[in-house]
């Protein structure tokens, strides 16, 4: 089965190897990209004729809500999201249903049909890790991993308040191994803890209840822990005041907090060859910036605050953002930021779900529709695009919809079309509320992204930002043989026929995973099992023992016993553990 494959004569866009539309062959052997094949191997290889077509590494989604308790809560509370979106079973594939929150099978097939091969779940509460892994193991084809929600965790807040950064690092390391998690997610630091008492925090220097810790301390502390351990991805931040008019300033100030922290990856992964430095350069990765770039002071004078945030990001080298685009239509807002969802409930009056995850975090889910007739939705549409188009360096940006919050991942092709075509943006601006252009700067933006830039925003940089460029997001020797072949001729690109461009992006000719064709023009033709990545950071034994005494003591407050807390590795299908901080020299000890 391990395929030898040649993808011949395509226009290759591989930014991490600085290949910008050159016509060349891509060789894959035993599932990995190789520089060349022997003549005998070439004779027997499966050949894809990509002449006149665009070839990119398989798509990498670094932020989507695709597995776990809150996704499933969305499915349960939204039967109306399912009955019109049915996928029939085939000889090869499972049936499925759902639009904004599809069932796991349909979700996997839909991503692959669109040319994506790697998707990371953006928020896994520790107590829901088991559920998250259950859904990931049932998701076909995709390689996956999940970020652990730690920004309101009692142990993290306690250790950071005590100033014991090493104990905090030991705890985070133990939690990563315990829950088979990939990275550190920080959601509304300090605020979600207050939400347990129907409060929130609104400033970076406002101590929260009981722990008396500020979000500034939590953000800085977790970023420091992240680099102390040498995690593959940086701290992934969902800022305070998300979804509130005027929040762009607190977002800017939050991004400034870890500016003094140097990125440091200490992973035991084998790094595939790339021309560019494929190690991340950021110390903070801002999630769904659109929801954190609101201007104005209320909904009445609401406007885009993207310009201010963009200005900061353009001047800073330690930040990467994903945009969280709003492509209009139905969505399901779901986040670990319980109070933000409650605020949305107060605005919309829709059915609403909220959860308090014991000593760890919280979450909320609510159905939402972004209407072209709505002034606010229209501005949010403009902002999502502004953020990507106004930040000059594409290596600071990633394209997402914060699926399913701003929109659904199946709308990515539409978002890419807007990024590539000013005409597409102008056409949509005419259909939606005039505030889209009146209250943002999007109307004056002429930039049209090239396929090279799109490859950065959808593959190369998403992989690099989360530390997966060791094997994903490029086609250098040693990389995973994940390739997307679009029926797009870059020499005859018609940016005026926007519907055709979107259709071609939505249904690539081929999606190749590990050297095997998994989708052909949107139809799933093979269903190999994906991998599940997680980090296994190590600290000194003595330090870990000292920390575990606290954990065992406070576990009396949990509803589960400490023995039942971990997710065993056998729970994961095709687990890939990434050792972090694993060598003697690197091991974190008490200084």
């Amino acid at each position: 089965m391990a395929a030898t494959m040649i993808i011949r004569n395509g226009y290759v866009f591989d930014p991490l190897n600085e290949i910008n539309g050159e016509i060349k062959d891509v060789f894959i052997k035993d599932g990995k990209v190789v520089a060349d094949l022997y003549e005998g191997e070439k004779r027997d290889a499966k050949v894809i004729n990509a002449s006149g077509k665009t070839v990119m590494p398989g798509g990498v989604d670094s932020h989507a809500h695709v597995a776990g308790a809150k996704v499933n809560a969305g499915r349960l509370m939204r039967p109306e999201d399912h009955y019109k979106f049915i996928r029939q079973k085939t000889a090869l594939t499972h049936s499925g249903s759902g639009y904004t929150i599809p069932s796991v099978y349909k979700q996997g097939y839909d991503y692959v049909a669109m040319g994506y091969t790697t998707v990371f779940e953006a928020a896994m509460p520790p107590l829901e890790a088991r559920h998250t892994h259950e859904e990931m193991r049932a998701t076909p084809i995709l390689d996956m991993g999940a970020y652990l929600v730690l920004g309101n965790n009692w142990f993290v807040m306690r250790y950071l308040k005590e100033g014991d950064i090493e104990k905090a690092a030991a705890y985070v390391a133990w939690m990563m191994r315990t829950h088979k998690a990939y990275g550190i997610k920080c959601v509304n630091p300090g605020g979600v803890e207050n939400w347990g008492w129907a409060k929130n925090v609104h400033g970076l220097d406002e101590p929260n209840m009981h722990f008396e810790i500020t979000s500034r301390e939590i953000i800085h502390g977790l970023a420091e822990v992240n680099e102390l351990l040498g995690m593959p991805m940086s701290l992934h931040l969902h800022t305070n005041n998300l979804g509130h008019p005027g929040n762009w300033e607190i977002t800017r100030d939050s991004l400034a907090i870890p500016s003094d922290i140097k990125p440091c990856q200490k992973t035991g992964a084998n790094w595939a060859e790339t021309k560019m430095n494929s190690h991340r350069v950021q110390s903070v990765y801002l999630a769904h910036a659109q929801f954190s770039a609101f201007g104005g002071t209320s909904w009445r004078d609401f406007q885009s605050g993207a310009a201010g945030l963009v200005d900061y990001v353009n001047k800073s080298d330690h930040v990467v953002i994903d945009n969280g685009a709003v492509p209009f239509g139905p969505a399901t807002a779901m986040t670990g930021d319980g109070p933000a969802i409650h605020d949305l409930y107060m605005l919309s009056g829709q059915k609403w779900s909220n959860t308090d995850v014991e000593m760890e975090c919280g979450s909320g889910v609510i159905p939402f529709v972004y209407l072209k007739s709505s002034p606010i939705s229209s501005i949010q549409w403009a902002m999502g695009l502004e953020l990507l188009l106004l930040i000059n360096d594409p290596w600071k940006t990633i394209m997402t919809t914060d699926h399913p919050n701003g929109g659904v991942f199946t709308q990515y092709p539409q978002v890419i079309t807007w990024l590539m075509s000013k005409k597409a943006r102008d056409d949509t601006a005419k259909e939606c509320h005039k505030w889209a252009y009146d209250k943002s700067s999007l109307g004056g933006v002429d930039r049209e992204m090239s396929l090279y830039e799109i490859a950065i925003l959808t593959r190369a940089n998403s992989a690099r930002t989360i530390g997966m460029s060791c094997r994903k997001g490029h086609l250098g020797a040693g990389a995973d043989g994940d390739v997307t072949v679009y029926d797009i001729d870059p020499d005859n690109l018609n940016l005026n026929d926007t519907a055709a461009l979107t259709a071609k992006l939505a249904r690539p000719d081929y999606t190749v995973k590990d050297g095997r064709i998994v989708a052909r023009q949107g139809e799933i033709v093979a269903v190999p099992e994906g991998r599940r990545y997680y980090c296994r950071p190590y600290v000194d034994d003595a330090l870990e023992k000292e920390m575990l005494i606290d954990v065992k003591d406070w576990f009396k407050y949990y509803t589960v016993g400490v023995a039942n807390y971990p997710v065993p590795e056998k729970y994961l299908k095709n687990p890939v553990a990434i050792p972090v901080n694993a060598t003697e020299a690197e091991a974190l000890v008490r200084s």
């Binding site: 509370m77 939204r78 039967p79 109306e80 999201d81 009955y83 009056g349 829709q350």
Partner: protein, 264 residues
């Protein structure tokens, strides 16, 4: 003019999903083609000819297509779903989702209809001469936007959540209805000539409900705003004195729903 006769072949086990029974789909088709249309029965797809003897006479556009169904089809779901024109007549009882999402044309059922008749209906006429099940003209489960246009007439009684999420159109029930009539209603008109039970108009924010009989366990979120004699609702004239209420204040500060109840 096309007349298509479907004669039921007898009792049906697992319910059949037959949204293909629709003038838009039957129009211009020969007997064999109609017999060959596929329907789901549980996990398998079977031709319509498994369940019906088909007779076709004449030909015409969907507007000119009449479908006549004879026999008990209470285990056949989705008849006339999404139809836009033409007419379906059922000489017997119909199953669930009859005329769901229909946008035009007309359906007449001599007997009873199952639940979700006229669900999320957009237009057209649905006439049930017998009684109807739950969720007549309502939204799909989980949705708050039900019927938006057209008319449903039930000569008998209906059960719970009639007109749930009603946003437009008209529902007239000659008999009684059960719980949560007009729940989450935002527009349109519901006229119940018999009585209703608890939750009538619950969380309604617009539209009108009129009940000529009694309302048992009256919803607490309604405020009486006056009384009217011989209330005129569209082109329907009610007789006698009615108390008028506004609600549901349980939902918000300024609800726009109107509820009329016949004074004793």
């Amino acid at each position: 003019m096309a007349e298509i006769l479907l004669r039921s072949k007898g009792s049906i086990g697992i319910m059949v999903e037959a949204e293909v029974i629709r003038p838009n789909i039957f129009a211009g088709k020969k007997k064999e083609e109609i017999e060959g249309l596929l329907v789901w029965q549980g996990p398998v797809q079977l031709p319509l000819g498994e369940f019906f003897d088909v007779d076709v006479s004449g030909a015409g556009s969907p507007e000119e297509t009449n479908i006549l169904i004879e026999g008990d089809v209470s285990r056949i779901k989705r008849i006339g779903q999404g139809m836009k024109a033409g007419r379906i007549e059922i000489h017997g009882c119909a199953g669930m989702h009859l005329g769901a999402e229909m946008a035009g044309g007309s359906i007449f059922v001599q007997g009873d209809a199952g639940s979700f008749a006229g669900m999320e209906m957009l237009g057209g006429l649905l006439h049930i001469a017998g009684s109807a099940g739950d969720h007549v003209g309502s939204a799909y489960r989980g949705s708050w936007r039900g019927m938006t246009g057209g008319q449903i007439t039930v000569d008998g009684s209906a059960r719970s959540q009639l007109g749930g999420g009603l946003a437009g159109g008209l529902i007239v029930v000659a008999g009684n209805v059960e719980n949560f009539c007009g729940i989450r209603q935002s527009g349109g008109l519901i006229l119940v000539k018999g009585s209703t039970v608890r939750g009538t108009g619950a969380e309604m924010n617009g539209g009108t409900i009129a009940v000529c009989g009694a309302i048992r366990q009256f919803s607490p979120g309604f405020i009486e705003t006056g009384r009217e004699e011989n209330v005129l609702l569209g082109d329907m004239q009610l007789e006698g004195w009615y108390a008028k209420f506004t609600g549901d204040y349980a939902l918000g500060k300024n609800p726009k729903g109107s509820l009329y109840c016949r004074e004793e």
